[in-house]
Amino acid sequence: MERKNKFDCHSVRSLGCWFTVMVPLIVLLSGGMGWSKETVDYPNKPVDLIVAFPAGGGGDVTGRLVSQYLSKKWGQSIRVVNIPGGGAIPGTQQAIESKPDGYTLFVDPLVTAAMLPAVYKKLPFDWTKRTWISLVTVEPSFFLVNSKSPYKTLSALAKAVKENPQKFSWGGTGRAGTATFALGQFFLNIGVNFSDTNMVAMQGSAPALIALAGGHIDIGAASLSEILPLISAGKIRPLAVVSEKRLEEFPDLTTTKEAGFPNLEVRAWQGICGPAGLPQYVIDKWANSLKEALQDPEFLALAKKMNKKLMYLGPDDFKAFSMKEYENYLGLAIKMGIRE
């Protein structure tokens, strides 16, 4: 086989010919595909909605809910782009550092908005540099035990834990995880020293629930959509739910307020955010459409099927809410001693 690594005169010329023809042609072709016009008809090409979690988990379902609905409404595809791993840090970083042209936004759950900065003193990116658009979903948290456990109420569990905190292992879902904070707040509330408790660090909500259902750990906490199958299979038992009113899915389940723990307020939520410096028309379009969505029966039906509870907050309200959550969790993290 002959190897011709050197260009000789003839081939250089013909190469040059080809290049002068092909390259502009190609660039024009691809340039044409990306050509976008005025700001008024935003969006006029696909929008990327980044989710810093694996498909099927975390804020992914919210992302798909929103993208599915808005794609139909706006006639332009909204793509959910999963950038999982690293405690949601790489994905969030990429989203926040992306170009603020309105074509890259991200789903911002409680974890990335408030818990991450509360827990890590130093993040590799500036988490405050973002544009808050709106809150979309909230998820009531549940306190859970294995169905074979002798504790049937939250107060009974609280009493037993207070007596002997070391005896109970509980599933934490990572350093900045809903279950970690929910149960952490619970322990602080009943006067148990957080460092006396026996946290078993699981890789996420699903592994924690599996371990709970299998009896390998004693206490757990999770959100609505995650627990339904295991509850209906009779493997785990909810003790109380963090919610204003009783849920229609569980009419017999006491809320934490009723159970005598009014200060337990950890619940997951998801909103939509963009990088800092988003043009106002982008913010307005999203916020208004989402506001309408939460009145639209089609959207409501879709959300109900996905077991998501909805709550809308506009850009300013969402920002205020988010910052307040951050302060709450900052305080909690310091008290729990998990801030590094």
Partner: protein, 157 residues
């Protein structure tokens, strides 16, 4: 024995192992009494690596026998390194020019590099394959591949 003597490999790995062990010093121990903190596993790996590489170095002194293909010079590495270099260039180019253009250019250059002499076949192959891939992945499967800064500038202009 390969291109590089076992001794050298052993020393390199020894150094890596040492760096790991040193790297664990900065990790605080928040293991809550189990003794198995974030520094435990890396330490084990670092020490293990150091031990094994030490054995390797010692062994390379004991067994002077050279087996296996006699090594040629480093010149034979030219092609592989060239490929790595070109591929890295390709990635940078993608960020700049977008997937489709860069891919077509890349395939063109690579096919030439691997020995295809006819420019026409080369160009034809690169353009058609590039377009095919673009259609199947970006359009068909809606895989979000990078579109490049140049296009972004062109686009928002």
């Amino acid at each position: 024995m390969g291109l590089i003597k076992d001794r050298t490999i052993g020393i390199i790995c020894l150094a890596i192992g040492l760096m790991i062990c040193l790297g664990t010093k900065g990790l605080s121990i928040t293991s809550k009494g189990t003794g198995f903190g974030p520094d435990a596993f890396p330490l084990v790996v670092g020490i293990g690596l150091m031990a094994l590489s030490l054995f390797l170095v010692i062994k390379s002194f004991l067994f002077k026998k050279e087996v296996g293909q006699t090594t040629k010079s480093f010149k034979m590495l030219y092609k592989p390194f060239m490929i790595l270099f070109l591929t890295s260039l390709y990635i940078c180019l993608i960020l700049f020019l977008g997937f489709l253009v860069s891919t077509i250019l890349f395939i063109f250059v690579m096919t030439r590099f691997f020995g295809e002499t006819s420019i026409k076949i080369n160009a034809l192959f690169s353009v058609s394959l590039g377009l095919l891939i673009e259609v199947v992945f970006v359009v068909g499967l809606k895989v979000p591949l990078p579109t490049g800064y140049v296009l972004a500038i062109l686009g928002s202009g």
